[in-house]
Symmetry: none
Subunit: 195 residues, 4 copies
DNA sequence: AATGAATGAGCATTCATTCAT
DNA sequence: TATGAATGAATGCTCATTCAT
């Protein structure tokens, strides 16, 4: 029923990002999003099933683009190390270049209902699979230790990146997130231990 | 005004944990918590300023115990490696032994308002400082590389543990979280790289 | 402004009957009627002033046919008793042969606004006048008692028929409505009293 | 959950009757009823599950009283004819003495959803059974013809009374409804036929 | 100290109608 | 004639907090 394309579809999603980033998840009323998108309240429902659908679509669209671009760029790299560097870089770059989106996906959307969280996790899976493939390749090619548990390795990579971005946001983006790419790459590759 | 001690104070906090774990953050009404604690709705407000205060107090009480016990046990260890192992163990152990609390702090409380999140972060700081001290010691004693950025190292440690616990919960605690202590210790110490 | 004739005019009215019978008065949106009639929403407003006008026109058209046919058939009868039998028969027959229309006029349209009810009553008046003329004739010819109050007699006739049809519909048309013609004729003529 | 007794329970029901009678079914918002009852909107929901529950309770309470009083008074009569006279009288009297209630039950509540109609019909059943028992008795005692179909007889009695009250209301109560008791009794007993 | 009845602000969604094409 | 995308007003219900008892 809801026509999920078109100029206004995009306008509404971008308005939602803006409103949520500016006013917070719990103050992002449909009417506020509509006003920001320069459409009537009712127009929202020509493009989205309901409010939750706006948020899911928002996440799906943005995360979809994210994963697509990240995957392409990673595939262009030859060595596993280079691929991991690219993953970290893309992860940080995509969020650093759109701070509103960063706030929305990293902080605000995490306040949502379990039902919405569930759907967001479904979308996030594609990104996690990207990491899983990278780990698999690293082990296969001998770049990563065969002893590592691939799932735990993924927890470490994603957990580290996620925690880094969250803290960067909580510290109000006072430093350049991208400057962390190399040190975090080293940490993930070599761990804490001194040589 | 609010008398933050007494039998009923504890009863209300424990009731809150139970209710939130069972019904979720957004279905944890004050009246439900009061009923679970066997007190009248109004009585809640003799012990807590408002609903947010219940949640903050809950987190403060439980996290306070957590940090105290963790710190003590870590201090009993001699080597840095042993201390890190203990940190991971305590982190996992404390949440594994009280699944209701784990669900509340790890999943449900993260749906709360930014204002509450802020205060929770304040409380969390004590735990993060525990990690920071450990890293500092590791570098000082030569166990950890002098090149690591201490803050990023903390992001890695906390992010990895946090992501591990969250996934364990989302997978409905189908495996033994404690079996992950050693592999995660190895990951954090040596990273992904093959020897 | 509204052009109240033409192929589409009829199509929209018949679509309205179908949609209301199938989905109920409160679920009979203009867009649903338009879809059923294979026209665009906006086209409706080329033939009808507004939604209420569809319903009034529906009732007027169908009731108009009803009264015309009933009047003709009654006029063909010679005795007053035969005329009353025919009235009952036509009333039941017309509704029994078109169950959708029966549901719409007998049940669904009664949920409408007082404003609409008022206009429906105006249309219904032609039918009630038919009954009134019958009573008048009966009294004049000596078939009916000169003591009866003509208005109350009409209430009895119409009320009995109406209640009969409504109950037949509420009992999901599980019996033959026409089998009630004779017993109801006897009731109306002789009342409850034993001979 | 809803506490269906008490001073405010009655106040809300009476306020609902007043508001619906004055403004019509579709303009009887919960907030309007609350204001009329001198309680807060939220208080409504301490006594009723939801808006529909107000209307059902209204009908149940008033109809319950109606049936109880009618039944008692009818039982005090000895002959069947006297009982029928009493039924008609009580039916008219109860509605004539409370015109607001008459408008609500006779006109406004009939605009309600099928779901609500259904529940109203359940309540109405008790009244219809009262009529059924009267007919049964009449036939058994020989006062009514053994040839009448008891169900159709009920349709006639109720249909006639209902149609009479409705028309009296639509004619804005310009005449005394009770003056119709005797003529309608005669109609129901002897029918239209001249002696 | 404890109670619990009462309060009232706040918001997603539907759908009849319009009008530019 | 015909279309259908866009409009925007209107409302039932929840629940944290208070305060008279």
């Amino acid at each position: 029923m809801a026509k999920k394309t078109g100029e206004k579809y995009d306008a509404i999603i971008n308005a939602a990002v803006k409103v949520i980033a500016r006013h917070g998840y719990h103050q992002a009323q449909v009417s506020k999003i509509a006003r920001e998108a320069n459409v009537a309240d009712g127009t929202i429902y020509l493009y989205f099933e309901n409010k939750e659908d706006i948020l899911i679509s928002l996440f799906a669209e943005k995360m979809g683009q994210f994963v697509t671009v990240a995957e392409q760029t990673i595939n262009e790299q030859t060595t596993v190390e280079e691929k991991l560097r690219t993953l970290i870089y893309m992860h940080f770059y995509q969020l650093a270049k759109d701070p509103d989106l960063a706030v929305v996906t990293q902080l605000e959307l995490r306040q949502s209902d379990p039902a919405l969280r569930q759907k967001i996790n479904e979308i996030l899976k594609h990104y996690l699979q990207l990491i899983d493939k990278l780990i698999q390749l690293g082990v296969k090619e001998g770049a990563f230790s065969p002893d590592i548990d691939p799932l735990l390795a993924r927890y470490m990579i994603f957990g580290t990146l996620d925690e880094s971005v969250t803290n960067w946001l909580l510290k109000e983006r006072k430093y350049d997130l991208l400057s962390n790419v190399e040190p975090i790459l080293r940490l993930l590759l070599h761990g804490l231990k001194s040589a």
